[in-house]
């Protein structure tokens, strides 16, 4: 039973409550993130706001970004997504699910010797475009791919 998907679909605009939860969850005492957690970005509910928070409001589409993900995912709670960026000097990759209540799913800062490649599994509430937002050489680029979410049958 796909509980995560159900609850995502049931999510109403409880932004106030969720923001409070975020604030409560982010116990400030003694935690040093290597990178500051992008509260504004993770709390944005619209794709445009997420892009703005990432600094990617005027990002251009790039064919040098490949998104590997299923056309159809059997289980919206576990959707595998991999992003490969061939852009030189790739510094950051973000995965954004347009139709999720909070579209920004993850941001990966590529330091040192890591290649422009990340693979993760994300929750999707419904069929949606999955965006990859890549920062390379100080500029922003995007790519996107639609992933359809289904409900399984037996078992």
């Amino acid at each position: 039973m796909n509980i995560a998907r159900r609850t995502f679909l049931k999510l109403t605009g409880g932004a106030g409550a969720l923001a409070a939860a975020f604030a409560a969850g982010l116990v400030a005492g003694g935690q040093a993130w290597a990178a500051t957690w992008n509260k504004a970005g993770f709390e944005s509910k619209a794709l445009a706001d997420v892009m703005k928070s990432l600094g990617a409001a005027s990002a251009a589409e790039s064919k040098d970004i490949a998104i590997t993900a299923p056309d159809i995912a059997e289980n919206g709670a576990v959707v595998p997504v991999a992003v490969t960026s061939k852009l030189p000097n790739t510094q950051q990759i973000s995965i954004v699910v347009e139709k999720n209540p909070f579209p920004l799913a993850a941001t990966f800062d590529i330091a040192g010797g890591s290649e422009g490649y990340v693979s993760a599994r994300i929750k999707m509430g419904q069929t949606s475009d999955v965006w990859a937002v890549v920062k390379a050489d100080g500029k922003y680029y995007t790519a996107r791919k639609e992933v359809k979410i289904t409900v399984g049958g037996c078992g």
């Binding site: 796909n2 299923p70 056309d71 159809i72 595998p80 399984g152 037996c154 078992g155």
Partner: protein
């Protein structure tokens, strides 16, 4: 998953066309395959193997003893290659037992656990991190990874169990008048978008017997063959299949024997 490409692809293409979408040609041949492959390559179920191993060696239960002296058919504590010969007849219990019922016996006899208590928790609730039995069953089965299913029916009781399982597989029962064979007796069958493994085909049944216990994606935990059969019975609206019952062991004996030769590879990854 079996090759259901023809039928499934046709349905999905119609499905996608109805949505007004143009299917990506590269994936249209096996639309669910890309996702399944990506998930199976890195299976969270593997984390349960370590957990099962720790539980196996840990002194537990009222008697404060580990499972190291448990005999799964090859002698006390010998795990390598043990599950490929299960179910089998055990002289000490005078019964044919599958992995989980044998595990139950050892947890009761060696460790002093109460049988009813184990049965109550063996199948963990959805959303939990799994039971001790599920982790143990996975660990013990993983010790046969790479080996071939090799069930023998040399003992009369083993043969009787096999025949009983065969009978159950084909017998129509209950309010839906279903038998296992109706869903699993033909190629290219499915319920909504779930493939139904063709289990009267050698390759199909081999795939079944070599991939349990498995990580059930939607449950976020490891599930066993006993759970799988219990859930099938529920799907068929049959009376509850009791954990480690003779009915369950009969069906497992039948399926494992039919799947002889299958190369064990656990944990499997299921939706």
């Amino acid at each position: 998953m079996p090759n259901t490409r023809g039928g499934l692809a046709a349905v999905l293409l119609a499905f996608l066309a109805a949505w007004g979408a143009v299917p990506v040609l590269a994936q249209s041949d096996d639309p669910l395959g890309v996702g399944r492959k990506m998930l199976a390559e890195d299976n969270p179920g593997e984390l349960w193997i370590e957990r099962g191993k720790a539980l196996f060696h840990q002194k537990r239960g009222p008697k404060g003893v580990s499972l190291e002296q448990c005999d799964f058919g090859q002698g006390p504590g010998k795990l390598e290659g043990a599950t490929v010969r299960l179910p089998r007849y055990f002289p000490d219990t005078n019964k044919v037992q599958d992995l989980e019922s044998r595990l139950l016996s050892c947890m009761v006899q060696l460790q002093g656990f109460n049988r009813d208590d184990i049965v109550k928790r063996a199948i963990s609730p959805a959303g939990s991190d799994g039971s001790d039995v599920e982790a143990l069953a996975l660990y013990i089965t993983s010790r046969s990874n790479g080996m071939k299913m090799d069930v023998s029916l040399s003992h009369q009781k083993e043969y009787d169990m096999y025949k009983a399982g065969e009978y159950l597989f084909y017998r129509r029962s209950g309010q839906t008048d279903f038998a296992c064979v109706q869903c699993h007796g033909e190629a290219n069958r499915r319920i909504r978008l779930q493939d139904l493994i063709h289990m009267t085909d050698k390759k199909g049944v081999q795939e079944v017997v070599s991939t349990w216990p498995a990580y059930r994606g939607a449950h976020f935990t490891v599930r066993t063959m006993q759970w799988r059969l219990y859930d099938c019975f529920w799907q068929m609206r049959l009376p509850e299949l009791k954990y480690a019952s003779d009915t369950s062991i009969a069906l497992i004996t039948y399926l494992h024997y039919q799947g002889n030769g299958a190369v064990i590879g656990v944990p499997g990854f299921k939706r």
